[in-house]
Structure formats: C-alpha cells, structure tokens
Amino acid sequence: MHPALQGLLTIVIGVGGCIGYFYFSNEFLDKVLFPAKGPNAGRNINRANQIRPWLFLFPAMFALGLYLAYPVFETLRLSLTDRSQGGAFVGMANYNQMFAEDKFWEAIRNNMLWLIVVPAASTAFGLLAAQLTDRIGWGSVAKSLIFMPMAISFVGASVIFKLIYDTRPVDQDQIGVLNAVWLQFEGGIGSILFLKVLPFVMVAGFAAIVAYVGYLLLTPFIDKGARKEGIFLSVVRLIGAAVAVWLVVISLMSLASIFAADLPYGEPQTWLTIPLWNNFFLMVVLIWIQTGFAMVILSAALRGIPEETVEAAIVDGANPFQIFFKIKVPQIMPTIVVVWTTITLVVLKVFDIVFAMTNGQWETQVLANYMFDKLFRANDWGIGSASAIIIMVLVSPILVWNVYNARKEMR
C-alpha cells in the first residue's frame, strides 16, 4: 500500500478510533454499566462520574507511561546489564567502562561548554533583541525575522552554517563567508582592533557580568537583613556562585592568551577541524536558532512590566541603561530563569547539529551523539543506556525544579 494512503488511513483510524473510544466508552458507562435511571439512579450517576475521568485520561496516561515513564526505568536496568552476555546483570561495569573512555570525558567537557555558552548567549541576544525591537515602529517585522530560524530544522541549519564555514584552497575564491571575511585581515591595525582588542573587551565584559551575577547570588548570605529562604534555594545559589567564580577565573586567564596568540593571517581555515574552537562554531548554530525563542518570551515579559516603575525611575533621573539593568531586568528575572532552563534542556539533548556537521570528530563529541554512536554504531546497549542515564541525571535538577514550581502554583 502506498505510504501516503496508509498515512491517511492511519489518521482516519487513529482519530476515529480515539473519538470512537471516548464516545462509546462514555455511552457504555452511562447506558449499560451505571444507567442514570431505575432505583439506583443517583448512586449510579455518582459512580459514573468517578470513573469518567479515567476514561478520558486512559489513552494519554497509557502512552505516557509506556513511552516515557517505563523507558526511564528500563534504561536504568539496561545500563546495568550486558547485551553480549544475554542481558546478565553486570552492576556498574558499563559505567566503569564508559568512565575509562576519553571520548566520554570529551563529550562531558563539551556538553558543559555548551551548557554555559548557549543558554547565556541566546538569552543575552534575546534580551537585547527584545529590548531594542520593543522601541521601534518596525519592531514586529524585525522580531518575526529574528524568530524565523526557530522553524528551520537543526539539519537544515547545519547545512546553512556548513556553507558559511566552507573552505577553498588559498588560490581560489572563498565561497564560505567566514573565510572570505577572515582573508580580509592581514595583521594590520584593523586586525588588531577586531581580533585582539574586541575579543579582549568582550571577554572582560563577560567576566564582569558573571562576577556581578555571582555577587547577586551571594547577597542573601552577606546581607544579614535579607529574608529567609529554603535550603534548596540556598544550595542552588551557592552552586551558581561557585560556577560564576570558576568562569571569572577562566576568562581572566584567557585574557592574556588573546594577545599572545599568533593568528595565521591570510590562510583559509577549515573552521570545523580546529579543536576547542570548532565547538563554538557548532554552538553558533544553536544560538542562532534559540535567540528568537528567548526574544519572543522576554519581549512579552518586558511588556508586562508595570509602566509606573519605569516612569518613577525616569522621574528620579535614571538613564536608559540604569532603567534596563536596575528596573526592568530584576522584574523579569523569573522569566529569564524559565528561558534559561528551557534552552538548557534543548542543549542537553542536542544531537542533530553535531551529528550533521562533524559527527563528533575533531573533539566535538557531545553526550547525545556519543550515546547514538554507542547505540547504533558500536551496538553497545549497555554503555548507550549508561550515557542516556547520565543525560537524565543532568536533566533531573530542572525536572525537580519544574515540578516544585508547578505544585507551588497549583496550591
């Protein structure tokens, strides 16, 4: 049968089946099992109403349970067994073997890099775009264009950016934009300005922002008068501050190397094969996609800020930067956290971009691709499952945080 016809048939059967199920199970409940007539009419109605929610919920809960909840435990079990030994229980052997692999630690290191850079950059660009486009007439057109990459698949985006990173031999015209721009630099004053001073300022600025965020995270501990908060939040704050300190140290250390670096001017580069830096070239793809998402949500949050607070600040003589950083940003902090965690989740699952652009070569491996490699190339379900569990462990703080918030909201 032609797959399109088969698809059509599935839609009809699937949708018709669903509706039929809901309709007939309700009819059965009301007419046959607990009819709302006869001597027990009242009791029957009550009973029917107790059962009905489960009729409505059953298909969804069944699918969720079988396709999402059960696999979590099954994967955990598989990660403790060995397929080649007929599924025998091997304890932590898979994990030990995985921890002994360099590729795994490379994936962990790269994932950490992704986790820091992509959410930060997307949120920052998104916030910038949201703030700027809210103030001009053609803002909605601009927004819609910046938002557009959201509709493009990771694979499509990979092709787009592979064209940008393309390399031709030195004696031919470059067809990749990045190399074409790169060849414009030949070590003169412009090169120093753009490739030494500008990165220096950017890294220094990044360090300053991170230091400030770290300071904000620590204020409740320094300020004795601050309101009490839960132990969970305190732990999160401490972890955040520790990461911030670490980031500041790293960026300060890299400041010196920016000037020391000897750049190969005039030679076309194969960007995706330069270790460490190629990770950033891959991250650009995801940042390009996710910025629109951050912008849309943050722009709605910015519009939700009460006008009076901004007006009061203007009356008190605040300049636009003070208004933005001291009035607006603190008020939309909860939304920034939501955006940040959402992008973090996307980053943890990032697979297509790495798979399509480098497939983990040249030290660009990430966890999701590592897992795919183990599963379908090495055919090692034990280690594949173990790495999936690592992803789950990394996701679980966000999971707990989300559930905690959802429950708080419902109360």
Partner: protein, 387 residues
C-alpha cells in the same frame, strides 16, 4: 516611554541601526542558502554567493572563426562574426563588454573599438561593443582561429535547474520527492493524533474532580523534560518485540507519545482559564461531560490547539533522531528529508547546488507554516513558559 515630558531619546538612531544589524546577521545565513540554491554548480564553486547578486566582471577566452570562414579582400584574409554568440562558450548578448586582449599575459590590453595586433603584427582584430569583430591577416588563417580574451560584465544569473533536479529529474539520493512525501506521511498523523488524545486528558485534568489529579499534573510536568534519549533503546526493543518493527506505525506512536506531555500541559493550562460559568450552565442544562467537551471546550480551545499543532508539526517535520531510530530501516525506502540531507552531507559534501536546494526544499514548508501561523506559535510559547 522614552519620550516622557517631550525628551526625545538620543539613542533612537542607535536602536534602529542595532536592530537592522541584528536582523541582517540573523537573515544572512538563510539568504546565503536561498541564493545558492538558484546557482549552478560552477557558479557556486567559483565565487561566493554574495557576489552573484551584482554584475560580475568575467574574463572569457574565445576564438575567432577559423580559416574556412575567411574571405579574401585584396591581399588580406578577413573573418567577421560576433564573439558574443558565435562560439559555444559565448556568454550571450546580455553581457557588457569592457576590455579585450589577444595575449594570455595581458587579457585586457585594449579598449573596445581599438584594433589589437597579434605578436608579429601580421594579424589584427577589431572588436566593437555589440561583440562584432573583424579579424584580418596577411596570411591565410589557420583552421582553429585566433584566441581572443574578452572582459565582460555578466549580469546576475539564476537557474531553477537545481529544483528541477531535486524534485523531479534527479536520481537516487539527488531526488527528494520520495523523502518529501515520506516526511509528510510521518508528520500529518503524528500531529493530529496527539491533539485528540491530549485534549481529552487535558479536559479531565482541568475540569474533572478525582483523587490523584494533582499527582498526575506533576507527572506530566516531570515528563515534559525527560530526554528523548532515554526512550530510544527500550522502545526500539519493544517495537521489535511486538512486531511493529521499524516503520511508520512505530514512528507515529513514538511522536504521539513524545508530544503528549507538552500537549497536555499547554491544553490544560488553557482550558483551566476558560470561564467556569459556561461549563456549569451546560451541566445544569443536562449536558454530559462528553458533550461539554466536544461542543464547548474544543471550539473555545482552538488557539491552544493551533499552537500545539504548530509545535508538533515543526518538531516532527524537522526531527532526525526519532525517524532514524524508529522509522528508517536498512533498505532506506522510508527515509525522511532530514536524514537524506545528512546522507548528502556525507556523500556529496562539496556539491553545494544539490545540498543547498535539498535543504531549502526541506525548510520551505516549515517556513511557510511559521509565517502563516506565527501568532499561534507565539501564543503557545508564552502559555508554556510565562507564568
């Protein structure tokens, strides 16, 4: 709000310029792909796509007519003709000639209208602006004619040939038509079925009272973030075990289940916000829950349904991982577009005309959906994350 009390912000121009720069940066990559998909393989590999938007100066090597076209005028042999059309490499009449030359050491030695002399002075050629040339020689010309180099401004030139190849005439991997329909076959049921299932569940979670409701909602929120990666091995084993194997049914089921948490979450949040009065009035009038759901809740929830439909459509259309694991078997007859593009990247990494066109075919549909339904997409995003 920056114009309070008549104080015009001096930053306005800076804002306009920054936004323009941002938009340009964000559009630039996609435009590159778009433009490249209309260029021939030679054009793509010889110059950057940005160059194709402007007339390009090109140097073309041509030959005059050979000895058999020569006419004897007195003691001179003369060959006349038009360089722009005669030769098989001729660029056509829509180019503008700027310079020409007769030696490969100086290909633009002469202005148009001048008379060029070949090395020994026995042969000359005159070229006029419309491409007509007059070649003269004191000896009988050789059979092949003389080399002439012309420098011409070639206007931007685009072709639909790549799309012709990708959609119709290409063979094997170069033809995306099958993959296009496969993608469509995956996407449509995988978008519609979860909506139906989730809508009923969302209604129960929003408007029906039963023990354990809060727990189930928490479960849905928790499952929202469970990574897909965890489900791959157990479900593949399950599918192989119960005989579904790799195929459309498996991928439909997988997409349905993976989309459910977001669907239930979005729809429940929306349905909870519907006015209680309507539902209670309907109940008083004797409507059953099933009637309330189909006659009142579903029509009112249309915006939320549309939001989720777009999400799920974009996600299933753009998906690679789920299709690779649950759908595409060794024969590859059920390949989807994303997978085919990845394979093209591997085997035809340098053939940008094929790659760019294939990629653009695959992103064209989501882009159309995106621009047509953007309102609902934004609304859904906001419902999902702004509290």
């Amino acid at each position: 709000m920056d114009n309070i009390a008549g104080s015009k912000s001096s930053l306005t121009w800076a804002v306009h310029i920054s936004v323009a720069a941002l938009v340009f940066l964000w559009l630039f990559p996609t435009i590159g792909l778009f433009v490249s998909s209309f260029r021939t393989a030679d054009q793509i590999s010889s110059s950057g796509w940005w160059a194709s938007l402007f007339p390009a100066e090109q140097t073309i090597q041509l030959r005059t007519g050979g000895g058999d076209a020569a006419v004897q005028e007195g003691d001179l042999w003369v060959v006349e003709g038009n360089l722009l059309v005669d030769h098989e490499d001729s660029p056509g009449t829509d180019v503008t000639l700027t310079r020409f030359g007769v030696s490969s050491r100086d290909v633009s030695a002469y202005a148009i209208g001048e008379t060029a002399e070949f090395g020994d002075g026995a042969e000359t050629v005159t070229l006029s602006a419309n491409g007509d040339y007059r070649y003269t020689s004191t000896e009988e010309p050789g059979r092949r004619g003389q080399r002439v180099f012309i420098t011409a401004e070639v206007p931007p030139e685009f072709t639909l040939g790549n799309y012709q190849t990708i959609l119709f005439s290409g063979t094997g991997q170069d033809n995306m038509a099958k993959a296009f329909f496969n993608t469509l076959t995956v996407t449509v049921p995988a978008t519609i079925i979860p909506i139906v299932v989730a809508a009923f569940a969302a209604y129960a979670l929003a408007w029906m009272d039963f023990p354990g409701r809060a727990l189930l909602i928490a479960l849905v929120v928790a499952l929202l973030v469970v990574p897909l990666q965890l489900a791959l091995i157990p479900l593949l084993r399950l599918h192989l075990g119960i005989g579904i194997g790799k195929g459309y049914l498996g991928v439909w089921l997988a997409h349905t289940a993976f989309g459910l948490p977001l669907a239930i979450y979005l729809l429940r949040n929306y349905m909870v916000g519907l006015p209680r009065d309507i539902i209670e009035n309907a109940k008083v009038d004797g409507a059953t829950d099933f009637q309330i759901f189909t006659k009142i809740i579903l029509p009112l929830s249309f915006p939320a349904l549309a939001s989720f439909a777009i999400f799920q459509f974009l996600w299933t259309w753009n998906d690679l991982l789920v299709a690779k694991v649950f759908l595409i078997d060794a024969t590859g007859s059920t390949t989807v577009m994303t997978n085919q593009i990845v394979e093209l990247l591997g085997t035809r990494g340098g053939n940008w005309e094929i790659l760019a066109t294939a990629a653009f075919v695959s992103i064209a549909v989501p882009l159309v959906v995106f621009f047509a339904m953007q309102r609902y997409l934004v609304r859904g995003l906001l419902a999902g994350s702004v509290k």
